[in-house]
Amino acid sequence: MTDIYDLAGRNGATLRDEVAATVDLEASLSDLLGRHNRRHRKQLVAGLTAAAAAVAVVAAVAVTRDPGMTEPLPAPSPTTPAPSHDFACTEGPSVQCLPGGRVRVDAARPFTLVPPTGFASEVSVGRAGTELYRDDTELGSGVAFIDDALPARRNKHLDAEEFARWIAASPYLDADTPQRTTVAGRPAWQVRVSAPGAPGDQRFACNQAGSPCWPVTATPRGRELPPWETGPWKGMANRYTFIDLPGGATFGIWSWAFGANWAAIDANEELIGTLRIQTP
């Protein structure tokens, strides 16, 4: 019988030798600095845009305000979400675990969530946005929060309504009529989508067939790489929600479930209902 520890030791040594022989440390370090600079610029632009929007709002209020009015404007009072019963929060580089079962994500526009029962403990911040996965479905389901959602292969920014209507008009997707709704205390647009088939032509698939999905949202990856695309897979149930944010950004929420599991999509609304976006 094979000695597993011996096998692991030999294959570990092979892996170390291969990495030592192939890694280009100076090129990797240069790549790292490039990544940092690209993200730093993106965050700076988002911050400046939000600050400019805040200044514009303050100026507009000052101009239009009745001079006799002394009562302050009523502050929004979101209901306090109930803490999760079994979500064991795992801290990450951009993820902070807060009291009361809250999770804070340090995106360009920071936001908080209170993951309910049924979600795994990792909050993954990656190229498709901030993702949480259910651990109570057979085939997989989750929600991706995209703090600056951009439409795939469209060289323009879309607001919440435009984004939902653009998805609904796709010839490759089955979609309901987009509905106006409220999410995180803000006006939003929502659309239910499914994909009856997979892209037959690789050129139309996400990332040129890196994944067999229909490209809906895109995440920029700098000048050297094309944007990372993601979207519905064949037979997947999806609900997209878009929220207009001050400064013109569109916050996207992609709720998805393999196996046309619409019950999971409905259950995901419990998580989405806890979203609070921090804006100036």
């Binding site: 094979t2 096998l7 092979t14 291969e18 440390l25 790292l32 990544r35 940092h36 993954s124 897979w233």
Partner: protein
């Protein structure tokens, strides 16, 4: 190659550098700490080995993202008792997230018959890569223990530090992984490239 900004670094003794580093005043009385560049050159290969064992082809992305977090927080990370241990934990966290996503996609590909098994076998031509692909089928904590112990070649004590658990727990994970891997090796022997 563009270098990490020099401004704000201590002039002698291998200063801590990074985007937010300001090390004047009382900090300059502390013993010199390693520069980020030196830390990167010393640590990145091991981190890449760990990521390769755990996520395969996405390894470079995972290892670089972990290093990027270290770079941004270098002012704090550099003075930690074990910056290497810290960045390994970040890498493990990112690898687990990547694995979870990959596992969901794999299940769907199997279900929708989109998987190209020929291509998959061709990708895993090297026996070592084949072995680590088996490790990636283990539960996440077992895979982490095997990768840290045998790919990175760490003693059990350091594996425990990276995983944030006791040495006993590491040994338990390794024992369970050994048993599962023995089954996997036996059942997939015929399919081994």
């Amino acid at each position: 190659m563009s270098k990490v900004p020099e401004s704000g670094s201590r002039p002698a003794g291998g200063a801590a550098r990074g985007p937010d580093t300001v090390a004047f005043g009382p900090a300059s009385l502390l013993p010199p700490v390693e520069s980020f560049d030196d830390f990167y050159r010393r640590t990145y290969p091991g981190l890449l080995v760990l990521a390769r064992a755990l996520v395969g082809s996405s390894a470079e992305d995972v290892a670089q993202e972990a290093m990027l977090v270290a770079y941004r927080k270098w002012h704090d990370v550099a003075t930690m008792a074990s910056p290497v241990g810290w960045v390994r934990r970040v890498c493990l966290h990112k690898a687990v997230s990547t694995l979870r996503r990959a596992s969901i996609e794999r299940r769907l590909l199997r279900r929708t018959a989109l998987a190209d098994t020929t291509a998959a076998a061709a990708d895993e031509v090297a026996a070592a890569e084949y072995f680590w692909s088996l490790v990636r089928r283990l539960p996440a904590r077992q895979a982490e223990a095997v990768a840290l112990r045998f790919a990175v070649d760490l003693p059990v004590l350091e594996v425990a530090e990276a995983m944030g658990c006791t040495e006993g727990t590491v040994k338990a994970h390794l024992a369970r992984a050994k048993s599962s891997l023995a089954d996997l090796v036996t059942t997939t022997e015929g399919a081994r490239p």
